[in-house]
Each structure stands twice: as C-alpha cells, then as structure tokens.
C-alpha cells in the first residue's frame, strides 16, 4: 500500500500473552473501524506470522503490519477477570504504546485499544477539529445508574485527573513529538513517577503515564489542553459479561455490586471499551465463524 504524507489512519497494538489473543481482537476491532470509519488500519504486533497463518482473512481489515519486539523490561503481570467468579494473573505487555509517534505510518493517527469496539463514526470528527491532540477523559459506565463511581476520574485517590489512552488522536508535530518523548521518559522512570504521583500499583500503565505527561506539559495546572475525543467512550468492566453482539448492539450482563446482583444492559450504535477480554474473545469466535 502506498501512503501519501497527509494520510489518516488508525493504529492498533496487539501483543499476545499466551492466554489472551489480542491479535484476534485487533482484527475484530479493525473490522469495526472499516465499517464505521473506512480508514486504513495499521497493526503493531509481535505475532505477525500468527496473524497471517491463523487469520488469513485479516488482509480485508488490516492494511499495514508493523512488526515489533515487546520491550517490556520486566515481566509485569496483572489480574484479568472473566466475570466475578474467574480471575487469572497474566502477563501484561503494554510498553509499546508510547512509541506510537515513531511507529505510525500516518500523518494523522487515531490510536485505539483493540478491545475498544466502534459502533458509530463519531471518531471521524477528530479530523474536523484544529487540535493536534485529542484524548478521552471521562468514560460513561454502561451501568452508570447502579454502579458505584469507580476510579475513573483520578489516577489515584489524591492525585491528578485521569486521561484514557484507550483512544486518542494526534497529528505529527513538534508538540506531539515532545509529548510522546515525555511519556517515554516517564515509562523509563516509572517507579519514580508513580511515587511522586501517589500510585500504589507498581505496574506500568499507559493511562497513568499519559495523564502525568499531560499534567507536566500543561504546566502542572488545570487547562483546556488537551481537548477530549469526539463522542462518548462507554466503559464496561472485566466483571461484566457480554451476552450477545448483534451488529451494532451489544448486550451485557453487568455485575454492579460484586455480590452476584446482575443487571442487563443493552447498548446500541456506541463505542464501547470491553474490559472482559475472555468474554470478548468468545464473542469474536462466533463473529469469525462466517469469515
């Protein structure tokens, strides 16, 4: 594929950990990108051979494959829930995201988590703003009326505003190069910064390093920079299970108080971050039966 300098596109990252197939999720995510945004998709992965061998139809949805070696310095692990009764401690490879400025083949890039499933074309509005950088700030909980407000707003109880690296947009520019260089510096000195910003968890997390970099770049003040991504980011948790995906409609069984009380939630034509990777994987298997 020949790219022009002013090309726009979507960049995804898929670094498999042995149990969660992020490559499969990336193909499904790319399929939704094609359906709603009709933009070229580039995938950064450490499993390029697996991608082609296991999913030969992926070329319909992924235009560019960028091979990378995961350079996670330590084998960090985190808990992944599959509903409230199953928990697995698995490898968590997330250190490549700050390299997106160098990795992207596009001049204007939307970066998405592969478990962020698009249901509308609101992200095309990124290209209608004059901003160099847009990022999600306040997600909408799919069970917002019943679930206790979670730690969605601050990176820790007494720290700064949380910004979500789940989805962001940037134009190549000196400012954005400086921003991503700062994110890389924070990643390289993670334990220093997590102590300064009172983050108890030792794991490196992109949402946190992106938030810290924003806080530093805007002079440690509240500010109107950066602007927020267009449209809502709906959020489910890994305690929630997907009941069904039917075109643009997703039905969930959500746990809302961790005592076995469940609520059915149906959401349509919306962009949803699905934290239960196992549940998403099972649904994608069904979706891919006809590929």
């Amino acid at each position: 594929m020949t790219l022009k300098k002013d090309d726009r596109g979507v960049l995804l990252f898929a670094l498999n950990n042995g149990e969660i197939d992020y490559v499969k999720q990336a193909i499904f995510c790319a399929k939704k990108v094609k359906e709603h945004l009709n933009l070229p998709v580039a995938l950064v992965t450490d499993s390029a051979d697996y991608l082609i061998d296991k999913f030969p139809f992926c070329k319909k949805y992924i235009d560019i494959v960028i091979e990378t070696n995961d350079e996670t310095p330590t084998l960090q692990k985190r808990n992944f829930l599959d509903g409230i009764y199953t928990i697995k401690k698995l490898l968590w490879k997330n250190h490549s995201r700050p390299d997106c400025y160098e990795l992207t083949p596009f001049n204007e890039t939307i970066v998405l988590d592969v478990d962020y499933i698009l249901g509308n074309n609101s992200l095309l509005n990124c290209f209608k703003t004059n901003e160099e950088f847009l990022i999600y700030k306040t997600p909408t909980d799919i069970a917002k009326t019943v679930r206790n407000k979670q730690s969605f707003e601050k990176i820790s109880d007494r720290s700064i505003d949380m910004w979500w690296a789940t989805g962001f947009y940037f134009k190549k520019s000196p400012l954005m190069e400086m921003y991503f260089n700062l994110v890389k510096h924070i990643k390289d000195n993670w334990h220093y910064y997590r102590l300064i910003y009172q983050i108890p968890n030792t794991n490196y997390r992109n949402d946190f390093s992106f938030s810290i970099a924003i806080h530093i770049l805007r002079g440690f003040q509240k500010s109107s920079w950066p602007a927020q991504m267009p449209g809502n980011m709906y959020m489910s948790t890994d305690a929630d299970m997907i009941h069904k995906i039917d075109n643009n409609k997703i039905t969930f069984i959500t746990d809302y108080n961790h005592n076995g009380s469940y609520l059915g939630v149906s959401i349509e034509d919306s962009n949803v971050h699905i934290m239960n990777k196992f549940s998403l994987g099972r649904m994608i298997d069904k979706e891919f039966e006809n590929e």
Binding site: S122, S224, A227, P230
Partner: protein, 115 residues
Amino acid sequence: MDDRLEKALEFSNYMITLNNQRSLIHEKFLENCIHYVNGGKFNINRDLINFCHTLVQNNQPSAILLDENNTPIEIEELQEFLDDILNIYSTNTNAYLVKFNEAKKNKSIEGILDI
C-alpha cells in the same frame, strides 16, 4: 417468600433496568447533539439555538461563537449554521422520543433489552 414481596422485588429489578436504559438513551441523545464546524465543537441545546436565532433576528449574517472549549469560532453563514443545528436537534429529539417510548412500553426486562 411472600408473594407480595416477590412481585415487588421482580418489579424493582425491572425498574433498575429501565432506569439504566433510559440513562443510556439520554447519553446517546447528548452525544448525537455535538456538532463540529470550522474546527469548533458545539453542544447543540436550547441555549445555542436561541442565541443563534436572536442573532439572526437582529440581522447578523455572521458571528463569533465560543465553542465547548471556549475557543472563538467564526461562523460566516449564521443562518445556515442555525438551520443545521435545528435540523440536528430535531432529528435527535425525535430519535430520543422513539427510543424512550420503546423502553417505556416494554413491561419486561427482556423487552427493554430487546433480547
């Protein structure tokens, strides 16, 4: 369990589901009422519509409007902008009404969720 309590709890579950779905439908309405023009981001609501209408009534062909990020945005064709936001607002309120009534008329959780 006492039948009266069992029925009440069943209805209570229905109300929780209905309330949450209504909330999501409202969020969707608000999301759809955002309009991007000339690099600016505008929440279309009655205030914006009334303000633009007032400017047009006072024979102003263009205006500088502050968007959601307090960025001043020049609107050269104010009448056209007003027509656009009125159209978007009407379309979305209509869609909101349809979805709201669909949720309201269903008297079971399965019906509300359409499963």
